[in-house]
Subunit: 450 residues, 2 copies
C-alpha cells in the first residue's frame, strides 16, 4: 500500500527556511518594481499550444510540457498521424514574455499604455535537469510596452541598481545596443554576420586578438573588414570615449549612428539620475540578438562567480505575432535562482530570516494554558508571532522545538507565576530572563523586540 | 500569421486591480498565519501520478490534468493497451493536501513536529468550467500535523476569527465532530449510515421534520431509530445545552461520548481565548466525512449568499498512504475566490487598492525631465511610488494616463518651476495644489501621504 514518495526530477520542494529566503528576494524585487509604478499581473500556468508553439525556436517547442486533453484524449484519434498534436491542446508556460505579449494583445482595450507590468510566476521547461537547472523555476519579469522613450531603459537601470543595492550584491550593469552591432556588421560589408561578430568579440578575453580575428575570417569576413574592426576589439576608456571612438569608426553607418545616439542618451539619463551602480558599455553582449532591437542589458555579480543574474533589452515587435504590430517595449528579467545562489554563497541573507515565531509559551498543563491564552492573544494583537506548545510534554522536547524552529524567546509559566499573576520570558540567545505583570503586554513586546 | 489570442477555458488572467485585490486577501491571510507560527512551504506544480492517483476517488482521478512525458512520448508504446498511463507519468496538483502529506513523509527527518505549515498555491482540476468554478484556482491551506491536542483546533478558530475580522466579513464558524456523528449512527444501530444521517439532518431547514424522517427510513433506518434521533433533529439552545442534550441521548455510545468530550474541550478553549466570532455546533456539517476523524469546521459569510468560504477538520491518517501512519493533524482551507466574491459583493475592498503609483511627473521635455529626475529618486527613497511619463506628449494624454492608473497626484514642472527651483504638485482628487522647494522631499511626501 505505502509508496515511497518522491517528486518529478528537476522540481523542488521549498521548506520553511528556503521559502523565507526566497520570499526575501521576491519581496525586495516586488517592492522596487512598485516604487516605479509597475503593476503586477498573473497569467494562467496553462496556455493554448497555439500561443506557445513557434515562439522559442524548434528546440523550445521540444521543451514545452504538453497537457493531455481532459476526458478521453485518445477517443477518435487517427493512429496513422502524429498523436501529440491530436491529444494535447495546452502546454505549461515556458517563460513570462510570450504570455505577456498574448495578454497585451488580448486585453489591449482595457490597458492604459504605456503599460508597466511585472510578473513573478513559475515557468516550466522539459530541459535535462542538472546542477542549477530546473524544470520548474520562477521568473521575475518587469516590462513596459507602448513607448520608445529611453527614460524607460533608465527606469530599468534604476530598478536594477536599487534591487541589488538592497540585496547588498555588488554588480556591474553591462549595456549594449543592437543597432550599434548592426552598424559594425554594416561597415564590415557583412550585415548578416551580426551574431558571428558579437560572439567573436565576446571571446577576446579568453583567446586573444589574433585568434578572434582568425575566427572572424573563418566565419566569412574579409581581412579588410577584420582590420576595420580592430579598434572595436581593443576599445577601452570611459563610456564617453568608447562612444566617440565608435562614432568615427561607423561614420558611414546610419543605423550605427542611431545606436550610438541611443547609447549616448541613455548614459546621459543615467548620469542625471545619479545611478550608483557601475554601468558599462559592452559590445560583446549577445543576449537575445534575434528579438532585441535597441538596448541590451546584462547584470553580473562582481563578488561571486556565476553567469549573469539579470538581463533584458528593448524589442520592437513582441506583440506582432499576435496581431498587434509596432508596439515597442523594453524589459528585464531577474534570475531568482542565481540571485539566491549569490546571496547564499556570500552569506548575505539577513540573519533573522526563517524564524517562524517570536515567542513560544511552553505547555505546563491545562490550567497554565488557560492562564497564558489571553496573553498570547494580546501579544499577537501587537503584531508578534506567538505559539503555545500544544501538548504538556517534557520541557526538553519543547526546548528542542523552539531551537529547531529558531524561536528566540520562551515563556515558562507554572503555578508560581499563576499565583503571582506574572509571566516569565527568557531570551534563548542571551539567557536573559525577565518577569512581567500578566497584563503588561507592552513591556513584554519591548523585551522581545528589543 | 497573426493569431487571435485566447487562454484555455476555465483559466483567468489577473490584471492590475484584480491582482491588488487578490493580494490584499492573500497578504491578510498570510500575515495571520505567521502570527500563529505557521511557516510557508511550496511544492512543485507537477507531482508524480503515482502520488496523486487514487487519493481523490474515481471521479477525482478523471479530473487530474496529465502531462505528456517529454521527449518522444509515443516511442515504443504498446498500441493495444490503454495509452494514457503509458505516455503520462506526471500530473498537475489537484489540491494542497496530498502534496502536503507527500512532503511530510518525504522530509520527515528534517521536520520538527508538530509541523505547522501553510501553503498558498494554485491547483488544477479538469472540471467543467462554469460560473465560479475554474480549472486553475488558488488554495490557501493551513495545517498542523503531529499532535492530537485540541489547542490546535483552537488556533485554527483563532486564525479564522482574525482573518475575517481583518477582512471585515461577518462570519459564523460552524463546528461539528465526526465522533459525535459516529455516536449517533451507533445508537441508531446503523454505524454504516453516518453520511445518510448527516445529509438528512442538513435538509431539515429546507424540507421539514417529517420529510427528513421519511428520508431516513427510506435510507434503511428503522422507525425506532428515527424516533431516537428526533431530539437531535430539534436540538436548540446554547452550545453547552446542545452538548448536554446529546450526552444523555448517546449515553450508550463510547465514541459519541468521546466526541462530546472533544466538543466540550474545544468550546472551553474558545471561551478562554476570548474569540469574538460566533461559534456554533452544527451536526449537519458533512464535509470530508471519509477522512475527518474529529473536529469538522465550516465558515459561512453572514451578509452574502454564497456557500462556505472556509472549512476543514482533523484527520488521523493523512500520511498513512505514503507509509507514515499515526500522524494526527488538523487544518483549514480558505477559499480565495469565494472570499473575493464576498468582498466584491459587499464592496469591502479598501478604496486605496490598485493605485499603482502615488505621483506622476508629467513629461514637459528633455530639460524638464532632467530637472525632475533627482526629485523622483528622492521621493522613491522615502518609500513613495513615483512615475515620470516617458514621452512629452499632450498633457491631456498624460492626465488620462494618471486617471486610468488611479494615480492620485500629478506634478507639472515647466520653465517657471525650473527657474524658481520649485516643484508643483497637484492632488487630483481634491484639486488642491502646492509648490515646494525642489530639495524639500519631506514636505512633498507629507503632502502626498496626508
Amino acid at each position: 500500500m505505502a509508496q515511497k514518495p518522491s517528486i518529478p526530477k528537476g522540481t523542488r520542494d521549498f521548506g520553511q527556511i528556503e521559502m523565507a529566503e526566497r520570499n526575501y528576494i521576491f519581496d525586495t524585487i516586488r517592492s522596487v518594481f512598485r516604487k516605479f509604478g509597475y503593476s503586477q499581473i498573473e497569467t494562467p500556468a496553462m496556455e493554448n499550444l497555439s500561443t506557445l508553439m513557434g515562439k522559442y525556436g524548434e528546440e523550445g517547442d521540444k521543451l514545452l510540457f504538453r497537457i493531455l486533453n481532459s476526458g478521453d484524449a485518445f477517443a477518435g484519434v487517427d493512429m496513422t498521424r502524429p498523436l501529440t498534436s491530436q491529444v494535447c491542446e495546452k502546454g505549461l508556460r515556458y517563460d513570462l514574455t510570450v504570455p505577456f505579449a498574448r495578454y497585451v494583445v488580448q486585453h489591449q482595450s482595457e490597458i492604459s499604455f504605456p503599460f508597466k507590468r511585472f510578473q513573478i510566476q513559475p515557468v516550466w521547461r522539459a530541459d535535462r535537469p542538472q546542477k542549477g537547472r530546473y524544470r520548474e523555476f520562477y521568473q521575475c519579469d518587469v516590462d513596459v510596452i507602448g513607448s520608445k522613450s529611453q527614460l524607460l531603459e533608465l527606469e530599468l537601470v534604476q530598478i536594477a541598481d536599487e534591487v541589488f543595492r538592497r540585496l547588498d550584491i555588488n554588480v556591474l550593469i553591462k549595456i549594449n545596443n543592437r543597432k550599434v552591432l548592426s552598424g559594425l556588421a554594416e561597415i564590415c560589408g557583412a550585415p548578416d554576420k551580426v551574431v558571428d561578430i558579437t560572439v567573436a568579440i565576446d571571446k577576446l578575453d579568453k583567446i586573444g586578438l589574433e585568434a578572434v580575428e582568425a575566427e572572424m575570417i573563418e566565419k566569412g569576413l574579409t581581412p579588410e573588414a577584420v582590420k576595420l574592426l580592430e579598434p572595436v576589439l581593443t576599445l577601452s576608456g570611459s563610456n564617453e570615449q568608447k562612444i566617440a571612438s565608435m562614432r568615427s569608426l561607423m561614420a558611414e553607418s546610419q543605423i550605427g549612428q542611431k545606436g550610438l545616439d541611443e547609447l549616448e542618451e541613455l548614459f546621459g539619463y543615467i548620469k542625471a539620475a545619479g545611478i550608483e551602480t557601475a554601468c558599462e558599455i559592452d559590445l560583446s553582449l549577445a543576449r537575445g540578438l534575434n528579438y532585441y532591437t535597441g538596448a541590451i542589458f546584462e547584470i553580473k555579480a562582481l563578488d561571486w562567480q556565476i553567469g549573469s543574474i539579470s538581463g533584458g533589452g528593448r524589442y520592437d515587435n513582441l506583440t506582432g505575432i499576435f496581431g498587434l504590430p509596432d508596439m515597442s517595449g523594453v524589459g528585464i528579467s531577474f534570475g531568482a535562482d542565481r540571485i539566491y545562489d549569490v546571496l547564499k554563497g556570500l552569506n548575505k541573507f539577513p540573519e533573522s530570516l526563517g524564524g517562524a515565531s517570536d515567542l513560544l509559551f511552553a505547555n505546563m498543563g491545562a490550567a497554565e494554558t488557560a492562564y497564558v491564552l489571553p496573553v498570547a492573544s494580546g501579544l499577537r494583537s501587537e503584531g508578534l508571532s506567538v505559539e503555545i506548545y500544544p501538548e504538556s510534554v517534557k520541557l526538553k522536547k519543547q526546548f528542542d522545538y523552539a531551537d529547531r524552529k529558531r524561536i528566540g524567546f520562551l515563556s515558562i509559566c507554572g503555578e508560581n507565576e499563576m499565583a503571582a499573576g506574572t509571566i516569565q520570558i527568557k531570551n534563548l540567545r542571551t539567557g536573559d530572563q525577565q518577569s512581567f505583570d500578566k497584563g503588561d503586554i507592552a513591556s513584554m513586546k519591548a523585551f522581545i523586540k528589543a
